[in-house]
């Protein structure tokens, strides 16, 4: 009868339905039979894919949120305003998925609120937990105008808008803290994390790479959104983001290389071990190649060039986080680890949920500017000098 409520069956919807069913099954096993039944983790490898990918990568890839809001609201670079809503949305979704991933990973998920009550300020993890909780709240507030606009609630909208600047500053500080602290987490394992990755400046490495990857993620998301939702790609704007990626990536590259020299770890690079290969892969794919591509403005200013180099940065970033949390820890643990299909399944499920929620938000909320001609003109106004001519007679 009510035909429009039954979704049309398409290939991607079938895939999504399958992933959803698998996710339900994996969740059942995980929450009712325990970690042993669902993962390949053991006493020697207590952290696996869920910490390495769902948490470390999830948090890092959402770093576009605080960078873009800072640049737009604080440094007043209005040019980048059109991408703020989608960036904030994806950061907000990202953090919620990280929390969901944590629910899978921690042994007693119903106690996830414990860090709020039992404090241990000597613990990096405690600091990360508090920061992530607070930053998720900040993101929720930054995201809320989209909902208020849709519901036409004027008063809350005004209130939230009036505290934008404090929110952006809080967001920046909280993000810098926990992004770098995810690196600090590994400072406590000097004898165990492989020498290629263990360095006293791990926190600095983590924050720098997170900014580069977060900004690349903004480009990747914009590109995919354009394909999926027929939204226009603000190429000149994204090329600007690409230039920022280039700068941050260059800083990261210098840090990495200099750090290897400082610690006399450079010869480890070519000893042919599994670790050295993974390190070279991470640096080659995620840093050197995109650096080369982004440095050439003819490549940076084309859609495909920008997209491919951003995908490379993101991939390299993911490899880096997995290297630090898994590859670098394996040899000292003395056992082998490869994620079970259920660990991979839960991760795929969460990522798919992210896509679905993003799609739903784009459909029902004003995430992308409407593409009427007038609006286009409006958004292009930044090209015209702001200062109105005052000296015309």
């Amino acid at each position: 009868m009510n035909r429009k409520w039954i979704p049309k069956i398409t290939f991607w919807r079938c895939v999504f339905a399958l992933i959803f069913l698998m996710g339900l099954y994996v969740s059942y096993i995980r929450f009712f039979k325990g970690l042993g039944a669902s993962t390949n983790l053991n006493d020697k490898v207590p952290w696996g894919l869920w910490v390495g990918f769902d948490v470390l990568c999830g948090v890092g890839l959402a770093a576009g949120g605080f960078t873009i809001t800072l640049v737009v609201h604080l440094f007043n670079m209005k040019k980048y305003k059109p991408i703020v809503p989608s960036t904030v949305l994806s950061a907000f979704l990202g953090y919620n998925l990280v929390s969901a991933g944590l629910m899978y990973d921690i042994g007693r998920p119903y106690r996830i609120w414990h860090p709020m009550r039992f404090w241990n300020h000597h613990s990096v993890m405690f600091e990360v937990a508090l920061c992530v909780m607070m930053y998720t709240t900040v993101l929720a507030l930054e995201f809320s105008p989209m909902i208020f606009k849709r519901l036409k609630w004027e008063k809350p909208l005004r209130i939230v808008k009036s505290i934008t600047i404090p929110l952006v500053i809080a967001g920046f500080i909280l993000s810098t803290l926990h992004q770098s602290s995810l690196g600090t987490v590994f400072l406590i394992v000097p004898g165990r994390l492989h020498q290629l990755w263990y360095t006293p400046i791990l926190p600095l490495m983590f924050i720098t790479s997170a900014i580069a990857a977060g900004l690349s993620m903004v480009i990747v998301e914009s590109y995919i959104s354009r394909r999926a939702f027929n939204k226009r790609l603000e190429l000149d704007l994204l090329a600007g983001v690409g230039r920022a990626v280039l700068v941050v990536l260059a800083v990261y590259c210098v840090l990495k290389v200099k750090d290897l020299f400082n610690r006399d770890a450079i010869e480890l690079l070519f000893d042919g071990s599994h670790e050295s290969k993974m390190f070279l892969l991470e640096m080659g794919l995620g840093v050197a190649a995109p650096l080369g591509m982004l440095a050439v403005s003819r490549i940076r200013e084309t859609q495909s060039g920008l997209f491919i180099s951003s995908v490379m940065v993101v991939t390299g970033f993911v490899i880096n986080r997995l290297n630090v949390s898994i590859t670098g820890m394996i040899s000292s643990s003395g056992v082998k680890y490869f994620p079970s299909w259920m660990e991979i399944g839960a991760t795929v499920f969460l990522v798919a949920m992210g896509f679905a929620l993003f799609g739903a938000a784009v459909k029902y909320l004003p995430v992308f500017p409407e593409e009427t001609e007038q609006e286009t003109e409006e958004s292009l106004r930044y090209l015209v000098p702001e200062r109105r001519p005052v000296m015309t007679p």
Binding site: F31, F32, K33, G34, L35, G36, A37, L41, N42, D43, K44, P46, W47, L74, F75, N76, D105, I106, G107, R108, R111, I112, H114, P115, R117, F118, W119, N120, H122, S123, V124, M125, F126, E127, V128, A129, I165, I169, F172, I173, T176, L177, S180, S181, T184, V185, L187, I188, V189, P190, G191, R192, P200, M329, S333, R387, R388, V390, M391, P393
Partner: protein, 266 residues
């Protein structure tokens, strides 16, 4: 007084009485794991010609207790590092951070606990010795004040320099541990970690963590200041434009148009 145990691997005959006493004391289920596990808090390993007992080292400044976000692990001044099951959220950072890879987990359970030797905390607090030390028939495990045990260990090395490798494992490793080991050969050869630093591990993260309040204060003020300056400049600029517009509409000459205006009108 901080208590400790001196484990002299040259005296251990591998009878496993300590293991049995431990299992009994802690009501551990029977299992045949090859290493420490949720059902085995201590285990005797055969390493070459020697037997080496492995258990929680009860570090003086334990990494596990410092990393736990909810403070579920705690070092008591009496020596033991104990575990509050009711606080634990199961993040397993303690297992990752432990330089000796000691804490184990109840992987099969839907409500898992972290499991490790707790230095028979109840017995130590009551003034008696842990079950394993009491059960040891050869005196390979000796319970006592840590300081006195260090003196004792030094004496044993000094009296029989040929019999002992001149190093007390646990005296300085990762800032010192409540468990002290003696051996006839270098420790690396009988399965001990040889790449441990002498600094307490929690210092490594505390160096970074302790700077956070400064970072928040300085960063917040700096960003707030930058925001204020930029905002102020925009307001001033708008005001200037408005002013100029108002003057022009009112027919008043603005500075520059006034200057050029005079020439123009002439």
């Amino acid at each position: 007084m901080s208590k400790g145990m001196l484990i002299d691997t040259t005296l251990c005959v591998g009878c496993c009485m300590c293991e049995e006493a431990c299992n009994e004391k802690n009501d551990l289920p029977k299992c045949d794991e090859s290493d420490l596990s949720a059902c085995k808090f201590t285990k005797v390993f055969e390493r070459g010609d020697y037997y080496v007992r492995k258990m929680c080292m009860h570090c003086e400044e334990p990494a596990c207790a410092s990393v736990c976000p909810v403070g579920a692990l705690k070092k008591l001044k009496e020596g033991p590092v104990i575990y509050y099951e009711k606080k634990c959220i199961g993040c397993r950072y303690c297992m990752q951070a432990c330089p000796f890879q000691i804490p184990t987990y109840e992987w099969a359970s839907a409500f898992p606990r972290v499991r490790k030797c707790w230095f028979c905390y109840d017995r130590v607090m009551a003034g008696s010795q842990p079950a394993c030390a009491e059960a040891c028939p050869t005196g390979a495990t000796k319970f006592g004040d840590r300081k006195e045990l260090v003196v004792e260990a030094r004496k044993r090395i000094a009296e029989n320099p040929d019999q002992y490798h001149s190093h007390i494992f646990g005296e300085h490793e990762v800032g010192g541990t409540s468990m002290l080991y003696l051996a006839a050969v270098p420790f690396g050869r009988i399965g001990f970690k040889s790449n441990l630093i002498e600094k307490p591990l929690p210092l490594l993260t505390w160096n970074v963590l302790s700077k956070i309040p400064d970072f928040v204060l300085v960063g917040g003020t700096l960003l707030g200041g930058v925001a204020w300056i930029i905002n102020r400049r925009i307001i001033l600029q708008d005001e200037r434009i408005e002013e100029a517009e108002r003057k022009r509409n009112a027919g008043e000459p603005t500075t520059r148009s006034g200057f050029f205006g005079r020439f123009g009108k002439k």
